[in-house]
């Protein structure tokens, strides 16, 4: 699908024309007027107030008359111009998409991507399926990156001391910096960088280090995922970093390691982990996951056994595990005092020991290095090294932010160059970073936003340079495994932004400063190799070497004694609250806080949007007398923050979970003032955990926007699951677990689709594997990007008006023996107090339009705006919809979304109820719009997004999908635009022949956006009338079932029931999953063969 790479970087004046707004490319009259206007508005107008107003009055009246008089011809559409090229570029066909391989750099790796470009603007990012081992899946941040590119709040200007400056002046400043460094050897020059793996940046750094040896380098990441490398280097006495092969592991123990949620390369870990969760037939085996954690994490939700403990207890659990495993492996291990849940630990250790070479122990990034050292020692004892965990060569990284703060406070830094990052916002609170930064004589900062760090550097000598997006400028990166990938731009910098490597090259005083040339020079190969590199999106054979390592016994011993002494110190502490600071699922460390898609994506676990919360367990909340939404103040030392309470099922007692990345003071229209800033409590000594917090209830409450009120399925078989044993005994368990069906009656009115489908060339369907879906939410963002889904803001989410076509439902199931009241449907306001939520099992389920063959929505539409096509798609015709919302009322799956307001064009701040402005009542800057218009008729009165904002945002829209307006219903179309395009492409290819059918064997069946983005491969779309297609085979499995099948809607989207793999020896073993127990409580045992069980009622129904 890819087009060949361009021969060189496209220049702005020749070849493809890059443009900065649609108005520019179409040369709209307004744009041209704006360009050609000699004086700014107001400068050349008549200024006499009385006669001017009079003139305006007459003019408005005459316009009105003219408008009425011309009403007849006014029906004609306004004249539009088509402007073809002056010079036709080669191999370019207007209206077709082009694809380029690129990559998004992460902290310690990169996500290889394939970017779709339409008319010179990137519109969608996909994973690079050519990448070795990749499946085309990405993470949610890569999917959302396109919105960052078109963020209207990006840094657009070069600024000196708070005032606009020219790029040339900025380049002069960098040259001057370079000259000065040359004279002093770099004395007083310090760089603060973010972590990244770019070989070009490394080369520039080396160049500068060679030229200015006294320059100093510091790296700061508020969420430090590099601890794996540091700990491995300690444990093995060599400079190495671990790569975990979750696909090779049969038994996995995670010590606070959320490897499928918040660790580096989570999407790749999901791919590997879910390979071991795939079952097709009862004889297949499953991997088993044990999780020990404080937070409820994605890993904990996917785990077969989960132990929740306070943060300070995790090292103790690690010690107990290490003692158990090292001892049983015949190694020398000191005794540890009996800790928490000894049976859990010893049985889990037994299971690990029973799988030498195919087990894995992994510690999370929040854990101290000593715990990681113990984990690696366990891996060594279990014979996993080289099998489920390999070690790669890895270079050491420069000093951290504490060293830099010291050096700043000592007055050793004359010029501080900050490339990326936002230290004023996220530096540890005890460093007093704003003050320290002010000690540098001059701060030169390259930033993507004019954020907190920009605000703190507005002195005359301070510079702020706008950073380029990765889709705007050349770069390179190494994936975690060391494979070189290109960062290829698809558009010229919209606002003239620079990249790190360009700034560094300028400081180095290099002649070559264009990023393309820097990257090209770093890539030493010839022209053919370079082209292949850009075409494929990776350089073959560049992966880092796997090195053989041996555990350093001294390192283990010292880790051991360190943890033991810490534990002893802990034991003496009184019963305090412990805080966990964690990376947020949506905004990461705060870098995505101005990304509306991510802000509005429900957190995979709490299902909260637009806020972080003080997360605690039911028991702790009860002890403190708190309930959801109560405002509390958390005090740690002499620092405080306040935020609303959220009671999280399965959260460890006596702990508080605080997500980082919120509470931005200066972000943008989306991110400013969302949530509270947990960095304020975070210090260098307690980066991830802090003990000794106190909590005080404040007056009042703060409402959070949660998109899922029901925590429990209440015994209904919406998600069906069984343990591996039941699956082996009753492979058809999903069919047995079924609600009673109403008696089948022959329909008076035959379903027209039954005959219509005979005409369809294909029959589309989808299968969702609940065994591999872990609920990460990447699909939600991919869908939002592909289908032009607007964001609606917190207030609208609270009113249930979120627009995402996909949602991932998350349910908890509790032990019915734990004081459960299963007969009453309850929402979170009641459920938060119930004991069963303490140790729940969790299940997730992506939910979107099920494309029912007998769709309840279609029967009730008075205008036939939702109908079926011959190929089984439930269509939504926007131009026919009049907005009665009957369809949504009648949809049992609640997957239809209604545009209550013009979400696309209204500014976010005007989306707050209960009273909404209209163009007539709207105010701007506290002044009534109509009054403003009266004073100045050129002033727009629309109350819609400002032009500069809308111009950028509309560039992110997919041209193949209608942008819906107010009053229109919408829902998942199974990416109809992709299906139609594939069909058209096949028909064009067929020409005058009958070869028009899309075939999976020929690779012509398209993938939906969610399917393409899913790192687990849990979503499979295809032609169910082709018996050889993957989706047909999946649907033929015994685990296949439809949600709410007792309603006879006959959905085309079906689910594969989940199979758990618990260990019978474990103390928290349940013979059947808790959700099944709930079902049994309500409906009776589905496995009982006697009598008329639901299973014997038959699988097929002939309901019309």
């Amino acid at each position: 699908m890819k087009t060949p790479p361009p021969t060189s970087r496209p220049e702005q004046d020749t070849g493809r024309r890059y443009w900065r707004s649609l108005d520019e490319v179409t040369e709209a009259p307004e744009f041209r007027q704006w360009l050609e206007r000699e004086f700014p508005r107001g400068a050349s107008e008549w200024t006499d107030p009385v006669s001017r107003r009079h003139f305006v009055k007459i003019m408005s009246a005459s316009f009105l008359l003219a408008g009425m008089g011309l009403a007849g011809s006014g029906c004609r559409r306004p004249v539009e111009h088509l402007e073809p090229f002056g010079k036709q570029p080669e191999n370019y066909v207007y209206g077709t998409s082009q694809y380029y391989a690129t990559a998004m750099a992460t902290r310690g790796g990169a996500v290889p991507l394939l970017a779709r470009s339409y008319e010179g603007r990137p519109v969608k990012l996909e994973g690079n399926a050519l990448f070795p081992g990749g499946n085309g899946g990405t993470d949610r941040w890569a999917q959302a990156a396109i919105l960052n590119l078109y963020d209207p709040d990006r840094a657009r200007r070069f600024i000196r001391g708070g005032n606009n400056a020219t790029p040339d002046a900025a380049f002069d400043r960098l040259r001057e910096l370079s000259k000065r460094a040359e004279a002093t050897g770099g004395e007083g020059l310090s760089f603060l960088l973010e972590r990244n793996t770019s070989p070009s940046r490394m080369r520039m750094q080396k160049l500068i280090a060679g030229k200015f040896p006294k320059a100093r380098w510091y790296v700061y990441e508020p969420v430090d995922l590099d601890v794996h490398r540091r700990a491995a280097s300690t444990a093995f006495g060599a400079s190495v970093k671990p790569i975990f092969k979750y696909d090779a592991a049969k038994v996995i123990l995670s010590l606070d390691g959320d490897f499928i949620g918040s660790e580096e390369d989570a999407h790749d870990n999901i791919r590997r982990f879910t390979q071991g969760r795939r079952v097709e037939k009862p004889s297949d085996s499953l991997n088993r996951l044990y999780a020990v954690e404080t937070l409820m994490s994605l890993t904990g939700m996917a785990a077969d056994h989960r132990m929740r403990v306070a943060p300070s207890v995790i090292p103790r659990v690690a010690l107990a595990f290490a003692s158990e495993i090292l001892k049983q492996a015949g190694l020398d291990a000191p005794e540890v005092p009996a800790g928490v849940n000894p049976k859990w630990i010893s049985e889990c250790a037994k299971d690990l020991l029973a799988h030498p070479g195919e087990s894995l122990v992994v510690a999370g990034y929040r854990q101290p290095p000593a715990v990681h050292v113990l984990a690696q020692a366990m891996n060594a004892a279990l014979g996993n090294i080289g099998k489920t965990v390999v070690f790669l060569d890895a270079a050491a990284i420069e000093g951290g932010i504490s060293d830099l703060a010291k050096s700043l406070n000592a007055g050793e830094v004359e010029t501080l160059v900050i490339l990326g990052g936002n230290p004023v916002y996220n530096a540890p609170a005890d460093l007093d970073w704003t003050r320290a930064q002010g000690r540098a004589k001059s701060v030169v900062r390259l930033g993507y936003y004019e954020d907190e760090t920009f605000e703190a550097a507005r002195r005359d000598a301070d510079w702020h340079l706008p950073a380029a997006h990765f889709l705007e400028s050349w770069g390179d990166a190494l994936t975690s495994e060391g494979v070189l990938v290109p960062i290829q731009p698809l558009i010229a910098p919209l606002f003239g932004g620079l990249t790190e490597i360009e700034v560094l090259a300028r400081i180095a005083g290099e002649d070559v400063v264009r990023p393309y040339e820097i990257v090209r020079q770093t890539f030493a190969g010839g022209e053919d190799a370079w082209r292949k590199f850009l075409y494929e999106g990776f350089a073959e054979g560049t992966a880092a070497k796997v090195v053989n390592v041996d555990v350093d016994p001294n390192a283990v011993k010292s880790a051991w004694s360190l943890l033991q002494s810490e534990q002893a110190a802990m034991a003496s502490m009184s019963n305090n609250l412990e805080i966990v600071f964690h990376r947020d699922h949506a905004v990461d460390d705060g870098r995505y806080s101005n990304n509306g898609w991510l802000q509005e994506m429900a957190d995979p676990i709490t299902k909260l949007t637009w806020d972080n919360a003080v997360i605690l367990s039911r028991k702790t909340a009860r002890q403190l007398g708190l309930k959801n939404f109560d405002l509390v103040e958390i005090k740690l030392g002499d620092r405080t923050v306040s935020g609303p309470v959220w009671i999280q099922p399965g959260f460890a007692d006596d702990s508080l979970g605080l997500a980082l990345g919120y509470g931005r003071e200066k972000s943008g229209r989306v991110g400013s003032g969302v949530g509270f800033n947990a960095y304020r409590l975070r210090t260098t000594v307690a980066e991830n955990f802090a003990a000794g917090a106190t909590l005080r209830r404040l007056d009042g409450t703060f409402e959070l926007a949660c998109i899922q009120n029901h925590w429990s399925m209440e015994g209904r078989p919406i998600i069906r699951e069984a343990n591996l044993d039941q699956f082996r005994q009753h492979p058809d368990f999903a069919h047995r677990e079924k609600l009673e069906e109403p008696p089948v009656v022959t329909s008076m009115y035959p379903n027209p689709f039954d005959t219509a489908k005979e005409k369809g060339l294909h029959q589309w369907g989808m299968s969702v594997d609940l065994n591999t879906c872990i609920g990460c939410g990447t699909c939600v963002i991919a869908c939002q990007s592909e289908n032009n889904i607007p964001i609606v803001g917190k207030d609208q989410v609270r009113r249930g008006r979120a627009m995402q076509w996909m949602r991932v439902d998350r349910y908890y199931a509790g032990d019915p023996t734990q004081g459960r009241l299963p007969d009453v449907l309850k929402t979170d306001s009641d459920q938060q107090f119930e004991e069963w939520i303490d140790d729940p099992q969790s299940v997730v389920q992506p939910m979107f339009c099920q494309h029912c063959e007998a769709a309840p929505c279609e029967n009730v539409c008075p205008v036939n705006a939702t109908t079926h096509d011959n190929e089984g798609l439930n269509l939504m015709v926007y131009n026919r919809c009049v907005g009665t919302r009957y369809c949504s009322n009648n949809c049992p799956y609640k997957v239809r979304r209604f545009n209550f307001l013009d979400f696309n064009k209204r500014p976010l701040k005007d989306l707050k109820g209960p009273f909404y402005t209209t163009p007539l009542t709207h105010e701007t800057d506290g002044e009534w719009d109509l009054l403003r218009w009266w004073k100045d008729p050129t002033e727009p009165t629309t109350g819609m997004r400002a032009d500069d904002e809308w111009d950028l945002l509309k560039m992110s829209k997919n041209p193949d999908v209608s942008v819906r307006m107010r009053g229109v219903m919408e829902k998942c179309t199974l990416c109809l635009q992709r299906i139609e395009q594939a069909k058209i492409a096949q028909k064009v290819k067929a020409g005058p022949s009958g070869d028009v059918r899309l075939k999976e064997s020929e690779g012509t069946v398209p993938k939906t956006a969610c399917q393409q983005a899913c790192p687990a491969g849990a979503l499979v779309f295809g032609d169910i009338s082709d018996p050889g297609s993957r989706v047909s085979k999946l649907k033929a499995q015994d685990r296949n079932y439809s949600v709410l099948d007792n309603l006879f809607t006959r959905p085309r989207t079906t689910y594969l029931a989940r199979v758990r793999n618990p260990n019978p020896a474990m103390p928290d073993y349940h013979e059947v999953p808790l959700s099944l127990e709930e079902f049994e409580h309500k409906e009776g045992n589905p496995f009982e063969e006697s009598g008329e069980s639901p299973a014997t009622a038959g699988k097929e129904h002939t309901h019309g």
């Binding site: 193949d960 058209i984 064009v988 022949s993």
Partner: protein, 203 residues
């Protein structure tokens, strides 16, 4: 009487709007003045240049492109190379600045018409655009309304033609019976669907 009169007048206005405010009346015949006096009658009719020489994207893209000025210059750097009527074209080809042609055929944004799939599968340009090869200044020949599209989508056999006659705007089937025979056979052999579901055009 007054009420009845009002009803009558109201009814007449409604009926008038209903009937006359349709693309059949508001669009057909639209013939704006173009910035360059380009004659399709001369180029396509008299000289017999194939449509696809200039509209290169029509077989590959949803959009049938208007040629770049450099395409005009392929011939006009030899033919009529100093003609004052071509001043704008020469200037545009030189500078790369586009010529602002006035758009004539335009479908609403929620309609996804695709040129390539029609011209590759037996539908001629003439069905929607009329006898362009006889127009000096192009005008809107057909209503291009939804009912117009559906007429053909309901009975493709009446419009399908041999693939080598797609850009031959003057071609006519020998007889209605022959057309029907060819069209029906083509529908079977080429597996042409009579697409009337909404998804065919609306996404």
């Amino acid at each position: 009487m007054i009420i009845a009169g009002l009803f009558l007048v109201g009814g007449a206005v409604t009926a008038g709007v209903w009937y006359y405010f349709t693309p059949k009346y508001t669009r057909v015949g639209y013939q704006p003045i173009q910035p360059v006096t380009f004659s399709h009658a001369t180029h396509a009719g008299q000289l017999g240049i194939d449509c696809r020489y200039c509209h290169t994207g029509v077989e590959k893209s949803w959009f049938s492109n208007i040629p770049a000025s450099s395409t005009c210059m392929n011939c006009h750097n030899q033919v009529l190379k100093d003609d004052p009527r071509l001043e704008l074209v020469r200037e545009s080809a030189q500078s790369g600045k586009p010529i602002p042609w006035v758009q004539i055929h335009k479908l609403p944004d929620f309609v996804y018409f695709n040129h390539s799939v029609h011209v590759n599968r037996g539908v001629s340009c003439v069905e929607c655009h009329g006898r362009i090869d006889q127009m000096d200044e192009v005008y809107h020949a057909q209503p291009l309304s939804m009912s117009f599209c559906l007429e053909c989508h309901r009975h493709p056999e009446l419009k399908l033609r041999p693939e080598d006659k797609i850009t031959d705007l003057a071609w006519r089937p020998a007889s209605a019976a022959q057309q029907l025979e060819f069209g029906r056979r083509a529908m079977v052999e080429w597996k042409v669907e009579s697409l009337q579901t909404c998804s065919a055009c609306h996404r």
